[in-house]
Each structure stands twice: as C-alpha cells, then as structure tokens.
C-alpha cells in the first residue's frame, strides 16, 4: 500500500506536465464487492495513457465513474486542477470527455455524416443545416488522417471505418479527453496499425487519450504511461519506456505468467470431423454466410479458423453444432453422416461446443452452477431417475467434483447463481462441462474472449491437453496471437469461404492479415482442404 502511494506521489512532483484529468482516490462499492478501491489515475495533457487490468479489475467501473454513469463514494475528480462533479454523461460531455465504446453506438441506416452530427445538429429555421457540418467534419478528417466516406451508410462500411466515425464524433464535439475502450478487438492487423497512428497524431495535437486494453503489445507500442489495476485495487503507474511486457503482465495478474504457449509436436490421428461443401444461409442477407466450405479435423490436432468477425465463422459453427440447418453439403463425425442429426444427437455422438456467446448459449444465468454443469447431461441415467426426477445428490457430487477439478470459483459453490460469477469462472464452468463429456470433437469458439491473461493461459493449456489426449479440436478465434500460438493448422475464412490454409510455424501476422482482409486468396486446388490429400497440404511437412 505504501509503495503504491509513493508511486502515485512520484507523478505529483512539481514541474511535471499539467494533468488534463485526475481521478483521485476513487472508491466505488457494489453490494458484496469493492469495484474500485482507492484508485488514482492521472492523465497528462497530450499523452496516451493505457489502463490495463484483467476482466473484473475495475476498469469499466472507473470509466463509468469518469463518464458520470456511477457516482464514487469516495475520492474526487479534477479537470485541469479544478475539482469537478460529474453527475451524468452530459456533464462528462460538457467537460470535453468523449468515449469510443467497444460496441459502437452508431445508427446503421444513417450516413456517416448524419451519425457524426447526431445530437448536435445545427439547424436553420428548424431545418437541418449540414453544409457547415460537412465542411468541419471534412477538415477534421483531413487533419487527423481519419479516412471516411461521409455519405456512405454505416451498415455498408467496414468496422475500421465505423470506428473512425466514432472518433470523428468525439472530435466534432471538441472533446479533449478521448477514451478508447478496447478499440482493437474488432480490427484487422492493418487497421490496428492505422489506429495506432491516428492515436499518436491525436496526442500530438494535444488531445489526451485513455486507452483501455489488455493487449500488452499494443500498450507497449503506443502508450506513454500505463496504470495497472488488479481486483479493484490500484497497483501502480509506470512509464512505458522503463518497463517490459513481462513486468506489465506481472503487475496485472499478480504473478508470473507464461505469455508464450508451450506445446509439443502434434500427432494427428484419424479423421474425426469431415465437412464437405457446406453452405449455411445467412440471417442478415439473402446470400449464404458460409459458401461451399470443406475441411477436416483429425484426432490430436487443433485446427483454427481465423478471420475477422462476421465472415461466416458464426454460421459455420451453427451449422456444425446443429443450431442452424445446412443450405447444402454434408458433415461427418467419426465417419457417420450427421448432416441432419439433431443437436442432442451430435452431442451424444461426441461433439462438444464451447459457444461464442456464453451468456446467450452457454449458460442459464439464473440457474445454479450445478444445474449449469449438467446442462449437457441432465438427461443421462447418472442424473435422472427412472421416474424422471433429478437425482439431486448425484448432481451435487458431480458438480463438486468438476468445481474442484477445474478450479471454478464462486461465492457459494455448487449452489451459486451463475449470474453472480465472474466471466472467467463462467467460462471455466462451460469448459469443465464440455471437456468432461470426453468428446471426440471439441469446438471452441473464441474461448478466451474477454478473459484476462491468467484465464487465457488456463484455457490454452486445457485445449492443448485435449489435443494431446487424442481429441480433435476446432478453434475459432479472432485473436491472431492465439491463432498463431495454439493451433496446428490455420484456415482463414473470408466472406464465408476458406481462402487459405497455413502452417502456424511458416506464416506470420502480416501474411494472415492479407488473407483475412480478402487481399489474397489461395487457389483451392493448392490447399489440402478436404484433408484427403495430405501430401500437398502445407501443414504436414513435419
């Protein structure tokens, strides 16, 4: 505690740059937890200040306090040295604080320009007056290199451009303090590089930037200083030039973390999953979201589907798991045609599915932990008496076994309501349930999304253990780091098609990025695609 205080004091020494925003000794409690415990964050004028912390460390709460969504019980906020009270988001706006949310707040059927001026439209005689606005937005876009098409509909533009629209929205409102909440999660590698440049140019023009992230590489490359939170507590603020990735991750997690995934050579065995010419209809448009996709996954390998969000990965998984019917093609599991099998049949035949959205599909949040742990097995003899009653003692015993084995932490053990558990532990519960089924095929969709470094490490180890136990793992991920470090074979998906197959040891971010963005495409004949002709496949030279 005292060491931490000293660290804070260091930055208050006279002569340092003035602070744009200071959040001093902020404490915010919720029933049962202290979300922010005496946290101090000082943002200098013109700097890029990273806010690093695991999920549930209190980053969002702190930002909500700054934005006026929550009121802190203790502590104060100062703008340019003067104490201010921020009661609601309007106050924050008036103080020049703007935020790019993780999920953009844009009206999809409006043009970019309309979105930017929304809420601060200038009018003449009660009619919209956009000429002046257009001139100003164009000037801003020019000045900061924010390339957008002002007349395009938001629904038609790329995610990167949508984000630039959000940034322009803040600039148009003359915001001086810009908060970026996990801005790179949805971007391609090239777009991330662009964003980093934009952030730097904004800082150079005197804007102060708060950059919320848990990606150490990005923080190291763009930030000037970094404040680390852990479990609601202030850990410290460091200058990026004096620190390392390892030190930051240790501050964030509280222990040494293995950043690189350690794995042995994969020994692929027999073919477990075979997909041929699969097509799945889209809910968004008339075309198929998955077009004629063929691939295989063998026992003892992790095949990863990489791609930017929204290129058909979701529908691919829905088709595989039976949540959506196929528009064409066939699926084989262990040689058995499961194209028309029900979800339950697929599950019983040996398919496990860690879903993308754990709240929507993976869990019944208002059920207890034990009830969630039997979600895929409640109908089995083990938990169901012949009269159709639940065998509650057996369920409890089974739940306690999984809880211990997978270290699922919760307030009240097996009877805790899952809603009250942290995201990481919710995910652990799903993983425990799906792995304990001892499936032949494990489909894991973004299993580490939104989790902290410690939990990610844990999940990667579990996936590799499944592979080494001779199971087939199909991983769908948007994180290139994860794709490159965990998988044995990479398939890149772009606009519903598999456009390339790679050996993770022989490719890199840049190459994958080109395929993910649709700039390059392999000739389907060159790929091992169906997995039958493995000689030609780039991934099996080992």
């Amino acid at each position: 505690m005292t060491a931490e205080m000293e660290k804070t004091m260091e930055h208050m020494e006279p002569g340092s740059q003035p602070y744009a925003i200071e959040m001093l000794h902020i404490t915010k409690r919720f029933p049962g937890i202290i979300a922010n415990d005496d946290i101090t964050l000082q943002l200098r004028k013109g700097e890029i200040h990273a806010l690093l912390g695991e999920n549930g460390a209190g980053k969002s709460t702190l930002m909500s306090v700054l934005f006026g969504l929550y009121q802190a019980e203790e502590g104060s906020i100062k703008k340019d040295g003067k104490e201010v009270r921020i009661q609601n988001p309007n106050d924050a706006n008036d103080l020049g604080i703007g935020m790019v949310h993780q999920h953009f707040k844009l009206v999809h059927c409006f043009t970019v320009l309309d979105n930017i001026i929304l809420g601060v439209e200038s009018t003449r005689n009660g009619l919209l007056e956009k000429k002046e606005a257009r001139r100003r937005v164009a000037a801003l876009s020019e000045k900061y290199g924010l390339k957008v098409d002002l007349d395009a509909m938001v629904e038609d533009i790329t995610v990167g451009m949508q984000q630039r629209t959000e940034i322009l929205k803040m600039l148009y409102r003359d915001n001086e303090i810009l908060i970026f909440d996990e801005p790179t999660a949805v971007l391609t590698p090239a777009e991330i590089d662009d964003l980093m440049l934009i952030m730097k140019s904004l800082a150079k023009e005197g804007k102060s930037i708060l950059f919320i992230s848990h990606k150490l590489n990005e923080i190291m490359s763009v930030a000037d200083r970094c404040t680390v939170l852990r479990r609601g507590k202030y850990i410290g603020t460091v200058d990026i030039k004096d620190t390392t990735r390892e030190e930051l991750s240790r501050m964030m997690v509280g222990r040494d973390v293995q950043l690189e995934v350690e794995k042995n050579e994969s020994r692929p065995g027999k073919e477990i999953l075979k997909v041929s010419n699969m097509s799945v209809a889209s809910k968004m448009h008339k075309n198929n979201a998955v077009k004629n996709v063929s691939f295989t996954v063998r026992a003892g390998e992790i095949v990863c589907i990489a791609g930017i969000d929204g290129n058909g990965q979701r529908e691919l998984v829905y088709g595989l798991s039976g949540l959506e019917p196929l528009a064409g093609g066939q699926i084989f599991l262990n040689g058995k045609d499961i194209t028309h099998a029900s979800i339950r049949e697929r599950s019983v035949l040996g398919m496990s599915h860690i879903p993308e959205d754990r709240h929507k599909h993976g869990l019944v949040l208002d059920y207890s932990l034990e009830y969630n742990l039997i979600l895929q097995g409640y109908f089995k003899q083990q938990f169901r008496s012949r009269m159709g009653f639940l065998k509650r003692p057996d369920i409890r015993a089974y739940a306690n076994k999984l809880i211990e084995q997978y270290d699922v932490r919760s307030g009240q053990g097996a009877v805790s309501q899952v809603r009250s558990m942290s995201g990481g532990n919710q995910q652990k519960a799903i993983i425990a349930r799906e792995i304990d089924k001892e499936p032949d095929l494990l489909i894991a969709v973004q299993p580490t999304r939104g989790l902290d470094v410690g939990a990610i490490e844990y999940i990667h180890k579990k996936l590799l253990a499944q592979r080494d136990a001779g199971r087939a793992v199909l991983l769908i991920s948007l994180e290139l780091e994860e794709v490159l470090s965990v998988s044995d074979r990479i398939l890149v998906m772009y606009e519903g098609e598999i456009v390339g197959e790679f050996d993770p040891r022989k490719t890199n971010r840049e190459e994958l990025g080109l395929y993910m963005a649709g700039a390059k495409k392999q000739d389907p004949g060159r790929r091992s695609g169906t997995g039958i002709n493995q000689e030609g496949g780039p991934s099996h030279e080992s």
Partner: protein, 373 residues
C-alpha cells in the same frame, strides 16, 4: 456472512410475500378512494363489507356456508393461476387460459348433460378440451412463431361462441342457462365425500377444492424436482441455451401449453360440475376467471403455494363485493373495486425491484458511514 448482513429483508421468499402484501394494501386503498369519490358516507362500511365477505354474517353456520361458496370459486381460479404459472416458467405467457377455461366448461357440461357421463369422465374431457385448444396456440408458436398472446386472445373469442353454440341443446327452455347438472345427471357432480358437512351442509363444496391444492403441490414438484421441470425452466430462463443443449424446444413449447390448457380445463370442470353455476349460452364476454388467474399467479409471487393463498384472497374480495349496499353503490362497483385490486396485483414485480434497489442503496449508505476514514 453476506447473508447475515443483508438480513431477512433480502430473502427472496420474504420479499415476494412482502411485495404481495404491499400490492394488496395499495389496491385496497385505491378501492377505498374510489368508494369515497362515489359516496363518502358509506365508504367505510362498504370497504369493510368487501373485506369481511362471509364474516358479515353473525352466525357461525352462515359464515361457514359462505366461506364454502368462496372456496368453491377459489378452486377454478387456482387452477387457472397454475396454468398461467406453469407456462410462464417456460417463458410462455398463456393469456389463452381464459379460452381454455371456457373450452373446459363447454366440454364438461356437454359430457355431463348430453352424453350423461359420470364426473370422473367429464373432468378428463374438460382437460382434453383445454389441452386441445392450447395445442393450437402451441403449434402456431413452435412452428410458425406466432406470438402466443395474440393467438391466445383470438382463440378466446372463437371458443366462447363455439361453446355457446355447443351447449344450446342443453339449454333450459325459458332461460339462457344450461339445465341443472344435479337434476339432469347427478352422477356428473363431483362428490363431496363429506366435505360439505364441514361447511354447514354446503352441497357445492366438493373434493375439487383439495384436488386443486394437490395440483398446486404437483406443479411445484414437477417444476422443481423433475427433469421435465428442469428443461422447462431452462427454456423459460434462456431459450437459446435450451436449444444449444439439445432440448426439444418445439416439443416443450407445445407440451407446456397443453398442460396449461389441461389445468385450466380442469379448473372449469371444478366449478361447473359442482353445480354452483350454470353456463349462460348467450354470454358475450369471456368469463373473467382465466384473466383473474393471471393476477393470482403474480400476486402469489409465481410460486405454486403462494398462489393457493393469492387465489383465495382474490376470490375473497370478488365475493365480498356482493355484500356492498346496492342502494348506495351501483352493482358494478364491487367488480370495479376487485378489478382495481387485481390490477395492482400486477405490480408485485415492480414492488420487488423497487424494494431491492432501496435495499442496496441503504446498504451502500450504511457501508459508507461504517467505513469512513
């Protein structure tokens, strides 16, 4: 430790009970205000009459007899409430309960008066009719994603007029009412098994009353102890997770509604096979029993046992309305008062949320004071 701090106020069950009582209180207050507005002088007496219901009578025998009457009408109300509740737990709002009740009434009277079947066959026929009607809603919901509220309400009317038509052959010559079950086919009357003698020889008091309470218990067991209940509640709480885990969502939707329909149909037979009421073949409004069931289930905190008490309460004030002084207040006033109270019952959830937010705010304040530096 946490639980101790929060105290019993944060207890889920206690909150439900408290919220229900608050609703009742506010409802009575509103009713009283309406009475005051219409006629200030008689208001005190009137509201007391509603609340006292059968207690108005001085003699104990009369009290018991009229308590019996209230109970006779509580049984069908409870069944309707259970129907709504069962479907609600699976995420379905069975507003078609009113129609299913009507279908049950029509079918059991037809079986009793035309086919001359005994009661233990008439009741299953009523259940079948309710279930069949609910199945229509269920199929439309499961396979065509037609909102169950819309199709339920539409079916209510179709059913009402169909039943009016169906029962016309069993109508008395000089009145719109169906002939008495007691005189036409006494074997169709649900037996009393001596229960009537407990209520001053009230011949309408039958085993239907304990049966309905038994149903409440059964529903509780099915929902909480069985695999079917597990699936059902999972579907109600998170439809997508239910589908993901391979539950037969369509089958469960239809089955749930059919069980709900059977409960409502059974409820109707409990009333019409007691001989307490006859069906009016010219009625042009769906009987309120089903709709009141919706109120009863919410007032009962969505718990089968709580619903037993809330059903009784709602029937108590509804019957109590008939004790109003008709010279001072128009005859509709009793229905108005009880419907105001029932309307307020719908606010149970609101009260609960309100209570919780107050509670957490107070807790915040308490902590702040306690841990101030």
């Amino acid at each position: 430790m946490k639980a101790e701090k929060k105290g019993f106020l944060a207890n889920e069950g206690f909150q439900s009970v408290l919220a229900s009582f608050l609703c009742i209180l506010v409802g009575i207050l509103f009713g009283y205000i309406v009475l005051l507005l219409i006629n200030g002088e008689g208001a005190n007496k009137a509201i007391l009459a509603i609340l006292k219901n059968f207690m108005t009578y001085p003699s104990r025998a009369a009290q018991m007899k009229y308590l019996g009457n209230t109970l006779v009408k509580t049984a069908p109300l409870l069944m309707c409430a259970l129907s709504v509740q069962f479907c609600y737990k699976a995420g379905l709002f069975n507003i078609g309960v009113a129609g299913q009740y009507v279908a049950g009434a029509g079918m059991c009277l037809y079986a009793a008066l035309i086919w001359k079947l005994p009661w233990f066959l008439c009741v299953p026929f009523a259940m079948l009719a309710g279930a069949a009607l609910a199945a229509v809603t269920g199929f439309l919901k499961a396979y065509r994603n037609v909102n169950e509220v819309i199709s339920g309400i539409m079916l209510n009317w179709i059913t009402l007029y169909s039943v009016n038509m169906l029962l016309s052959p069993a109508k008395e010559v000089s009145s719109p009412y169906t002939v008495q079950v007691a005189s036409t086919n006494p074997s169709a009357l649900i037996p009393s098994m001596g229960l009537g003698s407990l209520f001053s020889k009230n011949k309408y008091v039958t085993i239907a009353i304990p049966l309905s309470i038994l149903c409440a218990l059964l529903i509780w067991i099915v929902l909480n102890k069985t695999v079917f209940g597990y699936e059902l509640r999972a579907t109600g709480l998170n439809k997508d997770a239910a589908k993901y885990s391979g539950m037969k969502e369509k089958k469960n939707t239809i089955l749930t509604l059919m069980i709900g329909g059977a409960l409502a149909g059974m409820g109707a037979s409990f009333l019409y096979l007691s001989g307490y009421e006859q069906w009016s073949c010219t009625q042009s409004s769906v009987p309120g029993m089903g709709f009141n069931g919706i109120a009863a289930t919410f007032l009962g905190g969505l718990h089968p046992i709580g619903t037993v008490f809330s059903s009784y309460f709602i029937q108590h004030i509804t019957s109590g309305g008939s004790f109003l002084d008709k010279a001072v207040y128009p005859s509709q006033i009793s229905d108005l008062i009880s419907s105001i109270i029932i309307y307020l019952c719908g606010f149970v959830l609101f009260f609960k949320t309100f209570l919780n937010s107050r509670l957490s705010a107070r807790q915040d304040a308490g902590r702040k004071g306690g841990s101030g530096k």
